[in-house]
């Protein structure tokens, strides 16, 4: 390796860009699915809903104790077989790599977000619940208008940190032969024998995005600290 030649990066930029877009879309979709499901999961724990609460608890424990890559394999290889059995004819029903990625990441994140939100719910002062009771607010309004907004505010830095990890984890979709930013880069790198340049540039892109998001976390923390000089 005599000299670095970054021209390859500029020539192949559209391909890298499409990979980056996929990574970002997957991160966005998974965090939205994860937030909605995770909040529901956390509420089943918070309300100690019989049966469902236990099932969710077990689900969260399971997901959090196995690697994401294994969950991806399960969904890609096992769920089609299960669906096939359920449909009756026994033949596997493929769900496709893209769908697998979106569903898996969403379900995986839900387990992590749920834990963050559950802890956040426990941190809300009991007086907040009592004030809602005294004002005759329904349970639904209590959570929607008073409790959850506070939980999300307090938890937003941790949720965003988790989302940064999620963004980095999207690179695992290579096992499903999907092309994310890293996947695009490594294909180009091998094709053109420009491994160093490609991996350097890709690292810089990850660094730029993740540190921008971290900055965002920091400013959120700061803003919350001012607005939230709570008693």
């Amino acid at each position: 390796m005599n000299s670095l030649d970054f021209s390859i990066v500029f020539q192949s930029w559209p391909y890298l860009w499409s990979g980056l877009l996929f990574s970002l879309a997957l991160t966005a979709a998974a965090s939205v699915i994860g937030m909605i499901l995770g909040t529901c999961f956390a509420l089943t724990q918070h309300f100690e809903v019989p049966v469902i609460g236990r099932i969710v608890r077990a689900y969260i424990a399971l997901i959090r104790s196995i690697p994401l890559i294994l969950v991806l394999f399960w969904f890609f290889f096992l769920v089609p077989i299960v669906l096939g059995h359920l449909s009756g004819n026994g033949r596997p029903i493929p769900i496709g790599a893209t769908w697998t990625a979106f569903i898996t990441f969403g379900l995986f994140e839900a387990a992590y977000y749920s834990e963050i939100i559950r802890v956040g719910l426990r941190a809300v002062n009991r007086g907040q619940f009592e004030a809602c009771q005294a004002l005759a607010l329904s349970t639904f309004d209590t959570y929607r208008c008073v409790i959850l907004p506070q939980v999300l505010r307090v938890a937003s830095p941790i949720i965003l940190s988790q989302t940064i990890i999620l963004f980095q984890d999207t690179s695992l979709v290579y096992v499903l032969s999907l092309t994310d930013l890293l996947g695009a880069a490594s294909k180009l790198a091998q094709l053109n024998s420009r491994l160093v340049e490609m991996y350097l540039v890709v690292a810089l892109v990850y660094l730029a995005i993740s540190s921008a998001a971290s900055q965002c976390v920091a400013s959120l923390r700061k803003r919350y600290a001012i607005a939230g000089s709570r008693r």
Binding site: N125, G127, Q128, E130, A131, Q133, A134, L135, A136, L137, S138, D141, C145, V146, P149, Q150, R153, A227, G228, S229, R230, R231
Partner: protein, 256 residues
């Protein structure tokens, strides 16, 4: 008109709050034993007594934040003991002010006051805002309406908490040691607000150790100790000539 009033008076129970033989336990600890208290509309009751005597528990039972274990509580004609009772129908008529304010930190002052009228009373946001600003003006804090609770002093926060409860237009107000979390210089502004409310004829039950306040507004002082009502009298009689030893001892302690 007069006839109409008497006819309605005859149909309504004379007490707006009736507490009969109420018992409340926390595990093995009996917080309230055989409490009887009747409050008529417009009456101002001051509840006092040493800490742990059950006074806070009693007013928390009146709007069912604590559930009593025995006896009967009837508020504005609704029996809280009935299983079928919609508790929120009672809570709509009962305002409560807490020792630690319990304002919603993520909502501005005016939004704190608008939330329940909109969600519970079904007011539009314009109506709720108008009502909230009116009540905030009444407690003299309308110029802070767009701030957040964390930006206000304790006394101001407690006045907002009073305003928030008043926006529901309750028939009864419960105060649970409204000034004991405040710095001394802020006690007066909160008490003045409550006194103003009393002058307007609000029915209120107030747990407090502010004896000057009790003398000024109370129709009756109820002294509690160890989960029972020990003595009940008008403020002059109670402060000048308490009948029981326990009340004498308590008064001596808080005067010093």
């Amino acid at each position: 008109m007069l006839q109409d009033n008497t006819a309605r008076g005859a149909n309504l129970p004379s007490a707006i709050v009736a507490v009969e033989h109420v018992v409340k336990r926390f595990g093995h600890f009996t917080a309230l034993s055989d409490i009887n208290l009747s409050v008529t509309a417009g009456e101002k009751i001051v509840l006092c007594g040493p800490s742990g005597s059950g006074k806070s528990t009693l007013i928390r039972c009146i709007n069912h934040i604590e559930k009593h274990d025995g006896g009967r509580i009837v508020v504005a004609g609704v029996d809280l003991t009935d299983r079928v009772t919609d508790i929120n129908s009672v809570r709509r008529e009962v305002g409560m002010v807490f020792q630690s304010f319990n304002l919603f930190p993520h909502l501005s002052i005016v939004e704190n006051c608008m939330l329940a009228p909109m969600k519970v009373r079904g007011l539009s946001s314009e109506e709720a805002r108008e009502r909230a600003m009116g009540v905030l003006r009444q407690v003299r804090i309308h110029d802070q309406a767009s701030k957040y609770p964390g930006q206000l002093s304790g006394g101001q926060q407690q006045r907002v908490a009073i305003a928030r409860a008043l926006c529901m237009q309750p028939k009864i107000m419960l105060f649970d040691e409204p000034t004991s979390a405040l710095d001394p210089e802020m006690v007066k502004e909160v008490l003045d607000t409550i006194i103003g409310l009393a002058r307007d004829g609000m029915t209120m039950i107030c747990v407090t150790h502010e004896m000057g306040f009790a003398r000024e507004v109370a129709d009756r002082v109820v002294f509690m100790d160890r989960g029972t009502i020990v003595e009940e009298a008008d403020p002059e009689t109670f402060f000048r000539a308490p009948r029981t030893e326990r009340a004498k001892g308590f008064l001596q302690q808080i005067i010093h």
